[in-house]
Symmetry: C2
Amino acid sequence: MKHSSVQETVEFIGTELSATLEDYLECVAMLAAGQRVVRVKDIAKSLGITMPSVSAAIVRLREKGLIDSEKYGYIELTPQGAALAERVCRKHSFLADFFHGVLRMDRKSANSEACRLEHHLSPEACRQIYRLVEFHRDQAQSETPWTGELREILDEKPLSELKEGDRAVIRRVAVEGALRKRLVEMGFRKGEKVRVVRYAPLRNPLELELKGYHISLRVEEARGIIVRQVGDEPEEE
Amino acid sequence: MKHSSVQETVEFIGTELSATLEDYLECVAMLAAGQRVVRVKDIAKSLGITMPSVSAAIVRLREKGLIDSEKYGYIELTPQGAALAERVCRKHSFLADFFHGVLRMDRKSANSEACRLEHHLSPEACRQIYRLVEFHRDQAQSETPWTGELREILDEKPLSELKEGDRAVIRRVAVEGALRKRLVEMGFRKGEKVRVVRYAPLRNPLELELKGYHISLRVEEARGIIVRQVGDEPEEE
DNA sequence: AAATAATGTTAGAGAAGCCTAAATTTATGT
DNA sequence: ACATAAATTTAGGCTTCTCTAACATTATTT
Ligand SMILES: [Mn+2]
Ligand SMILES: [Mn+2]
Ligand SMILES: [Mn+2]
Ligand SMILES: [Mn+2]
């Protein structure tokens, strides 16, 4: 109701949504999948935005024929809206797979990364990333050596980036000179296990556990110790 | 001049630029590298934006202490501005490497892709992609088999996506039934070379050259023929 | 069946970013 | 030097997206 005549489904061309509106659509789709009905309140909560802003966004989406709702009522996607939401979700999902599965970021970061990028990727880039993810999964499954090598590289990070409670194995001490000598003498050697016990209030120094002893290190020093995080990520696929 | 006291360089915290402003900064840096002076006109032309809009953006950037310029005068980056621009450029550059070098997109698409995404990637994602690019380059250099396999996969595209004049080798016919039989009988077989002679005004049908003969195909039919583009991309690294 | 609470909409405002049209300033040519 | 051209800024307007405060509707209690 609004368009007068033919070609409502065919006229699918001028469908260029802003990143924001795509997120609203995606959000509605996800909520709809988990609940009977979707309300302004749910969207507001889920996106961390006030209800009036959501209300206004819903109006914009309704004008584009992507959402169907009546005043004070439930919110539903039109078929067109659902189709678009589905597209966004697919992008989100395989981008998250890329960041988590291939690039080894934790699920949460991978998701937020995906949700920021999903609106800016061209279809071609999507396709190529999708293929890369699939290829990588196949190769990882057949345990080709290169996927292991890559993982080793990707899992390296400076000790200073761990969070409280994280455990890691030391890979190398990436500083030279006196500091290196000091660190090595303290026991920071390849293969050794460390655990972050606690950050001081200002994140400096940080307290570590190494071979049963507790050691304090300044963040600048910890930055030079390259570790491989361990124990995390219970692979909740 | 504006901030009254200490810590102008140290206070580097609240430096969250919008995607737009990052692009302005990047643009100024690039122009500055290629010319003696940068003017509003140059930026406007380079970004495809009107001069008044650029003027306004310059004001916003000057307020943030990232650009130094006086009315009707040249535009320069402050040290802080240059530092930020440099960061954006680095992101752009290795993202472009990712899309071109790893994902096999053509340079132009890779660049525009990179320039859209560069503003939305977290530092962690940046680092991981950077590592992936490096790893891939090393592996491709030592000609490991998997990089070749991956390339084969990434280079596949439907015949319908080629542009006029493009040449390609057929990899497979990805349809079943009568249409498949017809296409195969016409000569669309694995290993055969094709060239796109011309698209009809409405992009349908498209005229192809196959084994010296000219053949017309509807786009829907061409979509089912998976090819590997060839001859393009003179590797202008 | 009120009264109260929860939810949703309206009104109004502000920041970013874009535009066109109209000054204003600087550069250039004779 | 002065007229003209080019570049820049100002002024004013528009869209998108956000917010708070106030009002309206719907749901829940009592
Ligand atoms: Mn998103
Ligand atoms: Mn998303
Ligand atoms: Mn950019
Ligand atoms: Mn860029």
